[in-house]
């Protein structure tokens, strides 16, 4: 053990001398690993951040909500078959609501995209959701001001609106939005509630923070073309454990409402957040693989650079290796010397890369909530060590097995 420690220490000293005597070359080599580790660690941190944001965002949708829709979100049913399905109507919704026993809340939803204005401020392409007072029970919304629109406002199709926190920030940067009248697609709506911040940036326009909620009747009244569109029925089960049962009941009721006979296929789809999750996982999986492949490639290039330098270094120091062997260096001593040299180069480059990655993560943190994980630190150090050893081993082995006679004669 002591001998190994001694050899390690001496090998390290020799390696450090070799690096110190060729600083510029060592630094250029480190640059390769530096970039590789920076990119890999930053990438993995960013992916982690996106993932966190998505999980946070999707939880605002509620895991126990079913969405009865003309379209399946994710399925292998042909597109044209779904297009030919009948639209889901308000009438069907009423029948469904009367028959359904299990759900805690049922709400019809239709949405349209409109420009929203308050005085000279405007926001383009805002999702306007039309529904009834029960809609709020199918979400996990909380309010920073006011309330959701009431049963009376809903059934009376009053011109009232509940706005997301982002919309509130954009239209009313300094003042309370409550009781202000905004124009949605040119029509006046009075604000009765402002949502607290719900989701995350990752959902983009689907983020509740960027949306507006109005009674469904106002949509049909003000934006007439929506009268002929299919609505979605949001159904909230009494907790995640009841999702399957509620789904079975919903399917039965919908078939009954639509008068489908036993041999006919469903002409509607019941969607769940789960499907979104699966779809997300597969998309993110691809991003992850592609990201790691590309960043891995940069690391690979760095590793080849190191191997190249080490080969040159071995060649250049052939005579020195010959001398070291002549005066008693064993094979493993020479092997250790060159392996340590490449490992030190990689480790130093890797640590510098890690520091750069931490700084970059702080920058990214301005957009995606993320932080360097311990795992990423271990990843960075591990990668640089492994790169050092792998790219050093072939040159080191070449050096170790040199014939001292040949090596001494080398000019």
């Amino acid at each position: 053990m002591r001998i190994i420690l001694f050899e390690f220490k001496e090998g390290m000293m020799i390696a450090l001398r070799a690096i110190a005597s060729n600083k510029i070359r060592a630094m250029l080599t480190m640059l390769g690993i530096f970039i590789g580790v920076t990119v890999v660690v930053t990438m993995s941190t960013a992916i982690k951040g996106i993932d966190n944001s998505f999980q946070q965002g999707i939880s605002s949708l509620g895991s126990d909500v079913l969405y009865i829709d003309k379209w399946a979100w994710f399925s292998n049913v042909e597109w044209w078959k779904m297009r030919n399905r009948r639209n889901i109507t308000m009438d069907e919704f009423e029948k469904f609501k009367n028959l359904a026993k299990l759900p805690v809340a049922v709400a019809p939803v239709i949405n349209t995209v409109q420009t929203v204005k308050y005085q000279e401020r405007r926001v383009e392409n805002v999702f306007i959701n039309g529904s009834n007072a029960d809609y709020v029970k199918t979400t996990n919304f909380s309010f920073s001001e006011g309330r959701f629109y009431s049963e009376i406002e809903s059934s009376g199709s009053r011109q009232v609106a509940v706005i997301g926190s982002e919309i509130a920030k954009k239209l009313f940067p300094n003042i309370s939005a409550l009781d202000k009248t905004i124009k949605i697609g040119g029509e006046n709506f009075r604000i009765v509630g402002v949502l607290a911040e719900q989701g995350s940036f990752i959902l983009g326009p689907w983020n509740p923070d960027n949306q507006i909620y109005v009674p469904i009747g106002t949509i049909f009244k003000n934006f007439a073309s929506n009268r002929w569109r299919s609505i979605t029925i949001n159904v909230r089960a009494a907790g995640p454990a009841m999702v399957e049962e509620t789904k079975a009941e919903a399917e039965g009721i919908m078939r009954k409402v639509r008068g489908l006979s036993y041999d006919q296929e469903n002409d509607f789809s019941i969607n769940q957040q789960e499907g979104l999750q699966e779809n997300y996982n597969s998309v993110v999986g691809v991003i992850q693989i592609a990201g790691l492949f590309i960043t891995g490639l940069s690391l690979f290039v760095g590793a080849i650079g190191i191997m190249n330098i080490m080969f040159v270094s071995v060649k250049e120091r052939t005579k020195e290796i010959g001398l070291r062997k002549a005066i008693g260096a064993k094979r493993r001593t020479i092997l250790a010397q060159f392996l340590l040299e490449s490992s030190v180069i990689c480790l130093v480059g890797g640590l510098a890369g890690l520091i750069a990655a931490v700084i970059l993560s702080m920058l990214i943190n301005q957009f995606i909530p993320t932080s360097i994980q311990i795992g990423s630190v271990i990843l960075g150090i591990g990668i640089s060590l492994i790169t050092g050893i792998v790219s050093g081993i072939a040159p080191a082995y070449t050096a170790a097995k040199m014939d001292p006679v040949e090596a001494l004669r080398y000019e």
């Binding site: 020195e320 005066i327 001494l408």
Partner: protein, 240 residues
């Protein structure tokens, strides 16, 4: 007591399809405190013999005993160990580490011998003082003259207290005056009881030795004790 005992060794190299008989049949005994010069024109096999004596290479056939231990069947690591402990090399081109100072160059063999830092520093500095480089301990090779560089190399060879000093054309890269100084140093080292084997092709240098072995075509042509040439003591270069 003989240190080196070689009996009927041969060495065959394969160059392409051809076999080169570098050494055909060489027998040689060298005793403690001998001063032997090995001479011969290029291609005579003297380099091969020197590599063999220095345990850098093993013979194709024949017996080589170093202090009574057979070298012929040793593994690479055993050879490395014997080179480290028993043999001190001095090369024509000095072979110093260019970016390390004199002390580090001299302590190098002690690193491979596993000597702790403090002790090897001390021994390296002493060896440098012994060859007259007291004021040049922390100079790098490019800050030293040719003669001084060869002195560092000699200090490196001596620092392990080896059984033999093996010098391959030690004056080949030096002017004649400096060469003479180096030969004076070898003379002194020999006086202190060391065994020296000198490989050279210059009569002038070989005359310093007490015994000259001449090689030709891989065979020993002659092996004779000679009258040693007068060695002038050069006080300026050797520490007292």
């Amino acid at each position: 007591m003989n240190i080196i005992n070689i009996e009927h060794i041969t060495k065959i190299y394969k160059v392409g399809l051809e076999e080169v008989h570098a050494l055909r049949d060489v027998s040689l005994r060298i005793d403690k405190n001998e001063y032997v010069a090995i001479m011969g024109p290029s291609g005579s096999g003297k380099s091969t013999l020197m590599n063999m004596l220095g345990c850098l290479d093993t013979p194709t056939s024949g017996k080589y005993e170093f202090k009574g231990v057979s070298v012929s069947e040793m593994t690479d690591n055993e050879l490395a160990k014997i080179r480290n402990k028993e043999i001190g090399f001095v090369f024509q081109t000095f072979n110093l580490l260019a970016r390390s100072d004199a002390v580090h160059n001299v302590e190098l063999p002690l690193i491979y011998a596993g000597i702790p830092t403090a002790e090897r520093r001390e021994r390296a500095i002493q060896a440098l003082i012994d060859v007259g480089l007291k004021d040049r301990l922390h100079h790098k090779p490019n800050e030293l003259s040719g003669g001084q560089r060869q002195r560092v190399a000699i200090a490196r060879a001596l620092v392990t207290n080896p059984s033999i000093i093996l010098a391959d054309e030690p004056t080949g890269n030096l002017d004649s005056k400096t060469g003479e100084e180096i030969m004076g140093l070898f003379h002194e080292i020999h006086e202190k009881g060391n065994t020296i084997i000198l490989v050279t092709h210059e009569e002038y240098i070989a005359e310093h030795a007490a015994r000259i072995v001449r090689l030709k075509d891989g065979l020993i042509e002659s092996d004779e004790r000679v009258e040693r040439r007068y060695i002038p003591k050069i006080k300026t270069t050797v520490a007292q």
